[in-house]
Amino acid sequence: MTRLWRRLKYWSNSARRDETLREEMELHLAQKAAELQSEGMTAECAHAEARRRFGIVARKSEEAREIWMTRFFSELSQDLRYGFRTIAVNKAFSAMAVLSLALGIGANTAIYSLMESILMRSLPVADPESLVVLNWSSRPPQNSNKDWVHVVHGVQGVLWPGSKGNLVSGMFPYRAFQTMRDGNPVFSTVFGYFNGQSRTVVFRGQATSAATVYVTGEYFRGLSVAPAAGRLIDPGDDRPGAAPVAVLSFAASQNRFGGPANAVGQSILVDNVPFTVIGVAPPEFFGVDPQTAAGLYLPLHTNLLVDGPRTARMYSDENFYWIEMMGRLHPGISMAQAQTVLAPRFHRWVDSTATGAERANLPALLLNPGAAGLGSLRREYSKPLYVLLAMVGLILAITCANIANLLLARAAARRREMAVRLSLGAGRFRVVRQLLTESLMLSSLGGVVGILFAVWGIRWLTFLFSKGQQNFTLHADLNWKVLAATAALSLLCGLIFGLAPALQATRPDVMPALKNGRAGGPRRRVQHALAVAQIAGSFLILVAAGLFVQTLNNLHSVQLGYARENILLFSLNAHQAGHRPPEIATFYTDLRKRLESVPGVLSATFSRSSIVTAGHAGPAFRGTMKAGTVTIGGARSLATGSRYLTTMQIPILAGREIDDRDQAGAPPVAIISERLAQTYFPNENPLGRRIALPEEKRELEIVGVSANLRNGGLKQESPLTVFVAVTQFSPERVTYALRTAGDPLRFVPTVQQIVREADSRIPVTNVLTQAAEIDRTINRELTFAKLCSGFAVLALLIACVGLYGTMSYTVARQFSEIGIRMALGAHRAAVMWMVLRHVLLLAGIGLAIGVPAALSASRLLKSLLFGTQPNNPTVLSLATLILLGAAILAGYLPARRASQIDPLVALRQD
């Protein structure tokens, strides 16, 4: 204890201690010298002899010091101080190293964190690992075969491609759910749910729209979710005739009632049906689909009240697939075991619902892990994310190569310093350790800045990915494991490439280094290899960026055939507010006229769905259209109100557009697109001819021909389009489009006020500009182009830093050589060319590796491109040019420095 006390006392005034010791030693030397002098030595000899007998003063004082401190800490503090000094002196070097490391670490951590939140994160419920999603898979329908029949007569939901070309879906008939739920030996609970889409909800007299999920009574128990307030839906609530109750999401309870406790017991209207709020879900709970956060949970059977009695058919129809299911495994039972038990059970049931030829191709039950919820988001984004991850991995590799290069170059430049220190008596280990401390300090600094970049990057990425999606639930957090891994990698890189030159520079044989400080060695080859690798890696990223930017350009330059700018879109659902045909058509028409009278609105119109989503959203007339007896294949219809073509600036080639004449009672009319007219009415005037829509008894008279337009997605060819009058087809939900003078979003308050005056129960939803809606369909491409361009700049920057470092070092090494050349009459231009030639050679080798690598790697991107090929020559040559330009830029400064070497100075050195 006393020793420790003395140590602490020592540390508290270690500076004075050092001073004391120094004074003691000096006194010693002085007295010794005096003594020797009195014995007859000259003063000079006496001093030298005194020193000789004493030993190395610095080492002795260090030994004395380390009696008190453990050696490690005393030297560490020295190293750190020295390291900080070196970092501060070599600002440019340090900044480059730290910045490139930070960018590498930050980008990797951000991308990986986001990826983890999309692809791997578990649902925020108890024991998510025991949850299982029930799917089925079946061979896809074959359209060519007219006799092909399937037991699945209808599906309300999505199908996606599974293995071996099969189609997979998560939808089941209600009876299948009952079969799975009752007396299930492997699941402790089976629960079902289906997406109720967005509903008009009136909270305290205010109408809004809320994402709704219909859930069975077992849903919350099966997920082991505890209420934040009140109680959650139980089996007693989920039967026909039960009192209508609702559970709110935590966010909805806060936004609408100021907190979960206030929400319980409140009455709300869901599509005009009164419900009582019985509880609030916990804050982190968003349902089972990570893509959308539900605001409202309703018992399954309440859809009979909300969607009308006609939905009762859904419960009894054994061939209509609409409910999704999950189960919670009994403890100790694996998913594979459950699959073996349940597959035959499902098969027996589905067999009982099939008739005749349907038995040949029955869907088979397929269990999937449910820990992360439903997989729709994963299916859409997993490939892009893997591509991004590969790119940032490449960037990290370039970064590491860069750090290695910089450290190697610097170690070489400091060989002389090391040799001097060794010859002055520094231990080899001590010098190596000091070099290591420096590189580790740089790496750690890079790591710290990298964390900042990662945090910022995650926010930015989440913003990019969520753009255009309401209720985006992914809140990616910094993934500390990834951060640790990337930081460890960069530390390791700093360690290895700090250690190798340090060991070499401190070989016991220091004389050659002292004699000529610029001795090269095999490390130059390593440096060159690293520079070449960086160039090749950057080229890959450049090419990828080029391809994605071109994809985006192609998408932007697609001839839409309709206006993109200055159009405001919003949706209304008067049906949910109680309007019924035929009054509803009048309501919408009157509203259109009011909107068109607003100053600044050039024209107003409405349609069943917006022009971008038409064809893949909402009930459209699909199937066979007929012109007389001829079947019109693949045509899409668009139910619109008056002045649609004018508002959308679609040219009218013949006849007229739909206008206010075309009301419910009037003769039904249609406008057809040019392609349809040319295909089915060649060599004749289509005006006045008639076509029939599927499921329609009436025939429509063709009153006009429009130009072609690319509705229903940018990536598809213009379909054959038929415009019909929406007012003649009893609309429910419609989307309005206003063509405005100036920024469309300026008109949002006016629109909201006009709608409120018309009927305050109808919320205005999906407010956005046409341009934004078009961009939303290419959100992924947009995100990719932005990210990849960013990555390309990053990679290029890092590679340039690496190249610059290599060349600066080479020039420094050849200092005297260049001096001699110039003394012998070499021109400055020749010297400059000598250096630049070197740079170009490195770049050339990098490209020779990069081009074939890019050609083979970019093939993997094919499915993400539009209108361009992976081996697009323009992109490849542009990337080559940019890379060469950057290389020359990076080589220019060292080259100029070389050309400005003064031969006299160079020759005098060494």
Binding site: R3, L21, E23, L27, R53, R59, E63, A64, I67, S423
Partner: protein
Amino acid sequence: MGRKPQKNDSLPGSLDMLILRTLSRRDLHGYGILQFLQQSSNNELLIEEGSLYPALQRLELNGWIDGAWGLTPNNRRARIYKITAAGRKQLVVETRQYTKLTLAIARVMGTE
């Protein structure tokens, strides 16, 4: 260059004992201790002089000696060391061990 590591003395740790013994006679500063050691050994003991100072630090850390600023006989400011009570005890222990050891060596060598 060409520097070789040197051992201070033939018996490791004996420098500590010699310092304690010297200081048990009278208080001295560093150079004084060295002078005394060399004179009393007839310059037989070759000590790397610088090693004295780490040894002094070690003894001080163990609480066996105490250093304080004072004046040398020829009036120069120096740190004068004095032995502590604990130091005297330690000297007894080390002397005993040393005697044991030298006796043992002497026996092996057959001089006794």
